[in-house]
Symmetry: C2
């Protein structure tokens, strides 16, 4: 089978055995925002055409390709949801002779009734369920970090944190960025930011402190970006993680490394999950579909 993780800014494809082992990989910078309306079939053909010609007949897609801005919209499936429920909710997509299926995103509501959505992360979580076990806490860091609770083998619910995109906007669009070099990660400054997130006051007050510390020479221009990153990630972790919890981290190694550092500083315990979680999830949902 073929699994494709098709997000906003990139597309990753995997050719896998029936048991879910990866035989071949392909990737493309054609994220859904780069694909013109109606061009999804031709872009997919360019990426996985050789594998289809070689006998593959099933393609499972996940990610923003199933959003309103994507190929075909796959309505959100509400939490709690398990692989079987997700496998039963796939959306069929007409494409040449192959059997092409879209994995729906998941939705939830937080305590205040505000909607929550994910697209693509549910597949990564499913791919990590063997590592996580029947219950646990998962974090997928990113522009919009997702924190999901696994309970009885199901994705019970999740919360999103805007930390990654807030960091980029604060760095790129405020006076804070003018005090930052393009310096490499500074662990000490990052840890100071994480520690600061536990102090009184409020994030909106502490953000001004990034400027005043730099102004008073208590942060160098090489340290300021790492400090701000630690401050935001620290706030996110303290809000999302019960004290002393174990957190399974899924995502790119660099960002997961930062989160692991911060989780340890917040008295939590980080467990890094295999980077191929998306491929494993695509295979597992493909199997769940066949079983329907």
């Amino acid at each position: 089978m073929i699994g494709v993780d098709w997000g906003t800014s990139s597309c990753r494809a995997y050719r896998m055995t029936g048991a879910g082992q990866i035989i071949a990989r392909a990737s493309s910078p054609s994220g859904i925002l780069q694909v013109a309306a109606g061009a999804f079939p031709s872009v997919l053909r360019a990426i996985v055409g050789d594998w289809l010609a070689d006998g593959e007949t099933t393609i499972i897609l996940c990610g923003m390709v199933g959003s309103r801005q994507g190929w075909v919209e796959a309505p959100y499936l509400p939490c709690p949801a398990d692989p079987a429920a997700i496998g039963a909710a796939l959306v069929r997509v007409p494409f040449d002779g192959a059997d092409v299926w879209l994995i729906p995103g998941l939705s939830d509501r937080d305590e205040a009734g505000t909607p929550e959505v994910m697209r693509g992360e549910e597949t990564q979580i499913i791919g990590a369920l063997d590592a996580i076990g029947p219950s646990g806490l998962v974090c997928l860091p990113g522009s919009h970090s997702k924190w999901a609770h696994i309970d009885a083998g199901r994705i019970a619910g999740f919360r999103t944190y805007f930390s990654g995109e807030a960091f980029a906007a604060l760095r790129g669009g405020t006076i804070l960025g003018r005090m930052m070099d393009d310096a490499p990660h500074d662990s000490g400054a990052f840890a100071r930011g994480v520690a600061r997130s536990a102090d009184g006051g409020h994030l909106l007050h502490q953000l001004f402190g990034v400027r005043s510390l730099a102004l008073f020479g208590e942060l160098t221009t090489a340290q300021t970006a790492s400090y701000l990153s630690g401050l935001l990630i620290g706030h996110e972790i303290r809000a999302a993680m019960p004290a002393g919890a174990a957190v399974h981290l899924i995502g790119a190694a660099g960002l997961c490394g930062l989160y692991a550092e911060a989780i340890a500083l917040c008295a939590g315990h980080a467990i890094l999950v295999d980077e191929d979680a998306a491929a494993h999830g695509l295979a597992r949902v493909g199997h769940a579909r066949s079983a329907v």
Copy 2:
């Protein structure tokens, strides 16, 4: 005497009687960032030259003109500080035949030891001291909002909140801005944002909710900016204002009106202070200097 409030992006000058009554006003878009090195005297001459020719001999300056990027740096005076202490700490600036004095900014340290700074706001607060009385809480909304405690007629200490600049960056540089029209202020959506700031979760989580509410049609593109504004201002007020407090608001009428709305929603009591607080403060510090 002449008082000049010279900030980052504008310059406002007042000609006043000895008793502090405003006789004439002048303003210029030449904020300190628009003034080339060495050009401060000529810019000032262009703004207040007529008044000097007409017999004025004393000029008191406040604001970022006394910063490192300004005309002459006036070192920060630490809190607590009263008008007499500030009047005794003025910095003399050489300028033609006139007596020109810079009001220093104030500094403080928060509970965590992080530095705090203000330049210009101390003069507005001094100008509002008669309205505030010997003790009280003052808020000066803006890109970097200042909340100051007045105690025994002194500026006892203050905290800065980055809400205004964070709002601009989140609106201008993230996906949240793409869901916003240039619509007029929507009081209902603003109030929803203020209410949301009292809910559990965390600001970084609630920011994603701005997107998800829009995505689910629970906020319109005409409402989203007001909701985000209410959310950030609500967080600031709940962090800075003890429950049920009276807050003296100093600043532009539009922004102070928003804060007054939000303070009432947070069970506080807003008192709007005369918009000419800066002029009154310049006059009062001028008098304090003469008394030294």
